[in-house]
Symmetry: C2
Subunit: 292 residues, 2 copies
Amino acid sequence: MKLLDGKLVSQALKDKLKVQTAVRAAQGKKTPHLAAILIGNNGASETYVGSKVKSCEEVGFKSTLIRLEETISEDDLLFKLNELNEDDDVDGILVQLPLPKHIGEQKIIETILPSKDVDGFHSESVGRMVQGLPAFYSATPYGILLLLEHYQIETKGKHAVVIGRSNIVGRPISIMLSKNEYPGNCTVTVCHSHTPNLKEICLQADIIIAALGRLEFLRADMVKEGAVIVDVGITRVADSSKKSGFAIKGDVAFDEVSTKCSYITPVPGGVGPMTIAALMMNTFKACAAKDN
Amino acid sequence: MKLLDGKLVSQALKDKLKVQTAVRAAQGKKTPHLAAILIGNNGASETYVGSKVKSCEEVGFKSTLIRLEETISEDDLLFKLNELNEDDDVDGILVQLPLPKHIGEQKIIETILPSKDVDGFHSESVGRMVQGLPAFYSATPYGILLLLEHYQIETKGKHAVVIGRSNIVGRPISIMLSKNEYPGNCTVTVCHSHTPNLKEICLQADIIIAALGRLEFLRADMVKEGAVIVDVGITRVADSSKKSGFAIKGDVAFDEVSTKCSYITPVPGGVGPMTIAALMMNTFKACAAKDN
């Protein structure tokens, strides 16, 4: 068994982006600029946005963090977004989710210009991805592709089973993996809460993407010898041995599955860091797309 | 074995739309209006557009057929489309494909306002469908759903195997069938030219959507007893016994598969007529959406 080490690959990608950004600067080209909007004081959101801003610094991007009050009106937020849309220096915009209940999430996402939609959540981004047009792939599934690519995992003709059909992970990764490109060209099966014979289907899988959000759901008896396992789950579990008081666990029972599979992502340190690397890649692309 | 009779169901849906359209008229509401653009003199395109215009007449919709020369420039076509976008009386716009080679198909499709995109080919329509937002489902996959719905085919928890991953049929129907709605909630496997064990996978299917465009590809030995078979293929085969000199055949070897399955679409008379019914449904919806 070999680890699909998201921390390591994420760092390698960021190192590469740092060089590419320096090359751009040397050529007198624009520095990529990510604007992030953070609303209220959600602890997890603070952490996520903090990592994104820190990653921008690491790779030499410009970043702008806009903190807004929990009580901001939808109109004021839309106004702010339109300012960022019109600001030529801003290449990528992200609004950290979730939003306060009085703000329509979909409306906010759809307001971001597709050309600055580095999170890939706009319906036009999703549609373009599905249709095979140039598009921002949303960060988590894109991060998974980058991880498979780094380890040169063979995907063509392989059977990938995706557990979960969320808009954020399961659905897009199932589409990406069945596209005619690399990583891709998998036969892909999408499973979900109404799949009666999940174990039987998982046992056929060469690649399993576990993205259902249920603690240690995937057990060793559901996995074929030599399969590739990608764990997208993140569940906090109380753990008094940790300083924080909790440990992060995934959708895969790592200890038992890891003895059977060929590759597996750890949690934490697998898909999580890749999401941020993918966001940096998208921001770089958004900037570079303006060169011509 | 029972036929999934697209001709019959299409007629039933059109009869219902005719009543609904008459009810709208009686209430003083707007009559649905479809504008179709036909470029050049392609025989098949003439036939398709002709059927669409005829269907509009049948259900009491207004239709406008705009014939343009093969030599029209892209700019002139874009200008025409923008006129239709701005014309409040036009509810739905379709541009019959394929287009002459000097015109960018994607650019044309993306110019149609998403709110008038009754063919459902705009990337925003596709993205909204994927994300579960209100959207125009593109006509062929939507027609398949309407057909399954009419015959009250159970889909929840069933394993649907989709052969083909085209933007027009395979990809969207695979997504629709795995959504959390009816018809849907299937476990869905997408197969394509790189799937090594297609027969084995098809033998697991409760529902097979054959949409690869290869004459009589699906044989009886690939089908589980009692499966539901939807044939999206259309191939012209020379047939001197026909007045036209050709017969239309599908992707399914009908004679042998029909002895094994529970339901099957004939070709012709299966998915084909449903595509037009679906287009009429979308046009009606586009019009009704303006009521408020």
